[in-house]
């Protein structure tokens, strides 16, 4: 650092990044701290570990049927993600490997539909689910989420890296097209599937608006709805909420730290 301008620049760089990192991480710290404090202490801004942790956990467990809520969330996110991965990867593979002018048109239409806001779909979807008597069921949440255009797009982009000669080799080896997909494409593309799994699972796990509309009884609530329910009312108990927030954040946080690279790949995947 002989050059004073360079030194200043470097210092500014560290200051900027340190502030950003602090601001980014602080709410996590606050969440953990909050779980140990009483609600009045939290809204009073007490920044020290408290003694209310077990009390908060106890209250949380009496207000929320945790196993049931966790099961709901895991079931919806798990089944929904699995179906999305199969349907969307098949479509991405189909669009990329079997080219035709008509399908190219259809694909462009799908891309346009990426920007359709959910708000414009939710009313007809709600009436549709009501007519089908699916309100307050898992199906009502899972069905509309399966064919994610974003994930189809993601798989199509990733499929561009799948060597056509592998498909040719498999055809000569006597595989049917669906066998090529299951026995060659899927195992070869497993890192794409891993990255996609993470983003799809996270989206399903964190979904709020649609479950809020469709799931109506406590026994069907997902984790997000349970926390939102704790938050309702004039004096929410923040200590209890923090316990819930930790439980809701933990799965995605763990996945993130275990599979950081895949995680980022998944988010970036569609752009390249």
């Amino acid at each position: 650092m002989s050059n004073p301008v360079a030194f200043l620049g470097r210092t500014a760089q560290y200051v900027l990044l340190s502030i950003a990192a602090f601001v980014s991480v602080f709410p996590f710290f606050w969440m953990v701290l909050g779980a140990t404090n009483t609600s009045p202490d939290i809204i009073r801004g007490r920044i020290a570990p408290g003694t209310a942790l077990f009390d908060n956990i106890g209250k949380f467990l009496t207000q929320i049927d945790l196993p049931r809520v966790l099961f709901n969330s895991l079931f919806i996110a798990g089944v929904g993600s699995a179906l999305t991965l199969i349907v969307a990867s098949m479509a991405g593979y189909g669009f990329e490997m079997f080219r035709s002018r008509v399908r190219e048109r259809v694909f462009s239409l799908l891309l346009l539909m990426l920007s359709i806001p959910f708000a414009a779909l939710m009313i007809p979807l709600f009436i549709m689910m009501a007519n089908l008597k699916l309100i307050n069921t898992y199906q009502a949440i899972i069905l509309p989420s399966i064919a994610s255009i974003f994930i189809i797009f993601y798989f199509r982009q990733a499929t561009k890296a799948f060597p056509h000669e592998l498909r040719d080799a498999a055809r000569i080896d006597g595989l049917k097209e669906w066998q090529i997909f299951f026995y060659v494409y899927m195992p070869v593309m497993r890192s794409t599937y891993a990255a996609a799994t993470i983003i799809v699972f996270m989206a399903n796990w964190n979904n709020y608006l649609w479950p809020l509309i469709v799931l109506q009884t406590n026994d069907m609530f997902t984790m997000t709805l349970a926390i939102a329910a704790l938050n309702a009312g004039y004096t929410p108990d923040f200590g209890v909420i923090m316990v819930g927030a930790i439980i809701a954040t933990l799965p995605t946080l763990v996945i993130f730290f275990l599979l950081q690279r895949r995680f980022v790949e998944g988010m970036l995947g569609a752009v390249k």
Binding site: E165, L166, D168, A169, R171, I172, D173, G174, L175, V188
Partner: protein, 352 residues
């Protein structure tokens, strides 16, 4: 009996015709090489034989059976791809046995055939590795092994050596020749490298723009090319071509206006022609001569090539009987026997 016949085979992609009517007979156990510049349709033709590309019109028969609409797996063929196309998630053993698994062969037979192929290709030690752990040459052998286990009637090779470095390429070329002898099956091999074609083939098929320019044994094509294109494509270094006009008593080359070159064929005076002569046909003896100015000398040790010019723009390549004393700037009299000259008309057709 697995001869192969193509009758007026055509292929179009939309309005673009890429194979424009190919007739070809390939005999059983023949090693046939399709050669030609990139875009000539040689790979497309191979893929049509494999069943990976539809045949737009015409007829393909393998061993007397019409194959146009037969599934690739049922044609009795096996294919080795340029990129090898090994399944990256499977071991060498699984790669080689994959086709047999889907053909419903019993496990012990698959194992036996894989072992047999591994023995032929000396892959025994690598059977439990995955393609990612193999070198280029080893992957190449696995790709061949995957073809061998199927006991095909016809092997198809799509530029199999082009991803290997020069040394390995020579080695694998010899391996392939040995393999052909050992397996005694028909091989169709696509390459853009005429040296591979010359060294491997029983029969070379030279393709250009979706048409067969000429087919024959390597030496037939070398000695007796039927047109300008084949003459230029086969042989290394490339044949020299000089433009000229036939006159009474010989050909006046535009780069050598001061002399007449004796013509090996009879020509009407005034006919514009192109004369071809191979670099190696120049020597220090011979009755005909060309006086040239040497511009560049290449010493290969065993041979010395001179790049030289007459009074025109054409740079000629000359073998010099390994004359190591030649220098750039020298005047040199290149001699040749007029009988070796090849004469082509203005459309490139050989005049005999």
């Amino acid at each position: 009996m697995s001869g192969l016949k193509l009758r007026n085979v055509r292929k179009s992609f939309g309005t673009l015709e890429v194979i424009k009517g190919v007739d070809l007979d390939i005999e059983d156990k023949q090693f046939v090489v399709f050669v030609g510049p990139s875009g000539c349709g040689k790979s497309t033709l191979l893929r049509m034989i494999a069943g990976l590309e539809e045949i737009t019109s015409g007829e393909l028969t393998i061993g007397e059976k019409r194959m146009n609409d037969v599934d690739p797996a049922q044609r009795g063929i096996a294919m080795v791809f340029q990129s090898y196309a090994l399944y990256p998630h499977m071991t060498v053993r699984e790669n080689m046995g994959f086709a047999l698994r889907f053909a419903g062969k019993p496990k012990d037979e698959i194992a036996r055939r894989v072992e047999e192929a591994a023995r032929i290709l000396e892959l025994g030690a690598l059977l439990d590795r995955k393609p990612g752990q193999l070198s280029g040459g080893q992957r190449q052998r696995v790709a061949i092994g995957r073809a061998i286990v199927r006991h095909p009637d016809v092997f198809l090779f799509d530029e199999p050596l082009s991803n290997l470095d020069a040394e390995l390429r020579v080695h694998m070329r010899i391996e392939l020749a040995r393999l052909h002898k050992e397996l005694q099956t028909t091989i169709i091999y696509v390459t853009h490298d005429q040296v591979e074609a010359m060294t491997l083939a029983d029969k070379i098929v030279v393709l250009r723009d979706g048409l067969v320019e000429q087919d024959g044994t390597p030496l037939e094509l070398y000695d007796d090319p039927s047109n300008h294109f084949v003459a230029g494509f086969i042989g290394s270094p490339k044949m020299n071509f000089l433009g000229g006009v036939a006159e009474e008593g010989g050909i006046r080359l535009s780069d050598f206006p001061g002399q007449l070159v004796p013509s090996p064929v009879s020509l009407d005076a005034g006919t514009p022609v192109t004369v071809g002569i191979r670099p190696e046909h120049f020597s220090s003896t011979g009755t005909a001569t060309l006086d040239v100015a040497v511009e560049i000398i290449e010493h290969l040790g065993g041979e010395t090539y001179a790049y030289a010019r007459g009074d025109g723009p054409t740079l000629l390549t000359l073998a010099t009987d390994n004359d190591r004393t030649l220098k750039a700037g020298d005047r040199y009299t290149a001699r040749f026997d007029p009988g070796v000259l090849l004469v082509f008309d203005k459309d490139g057709k050989r005049l005999r």
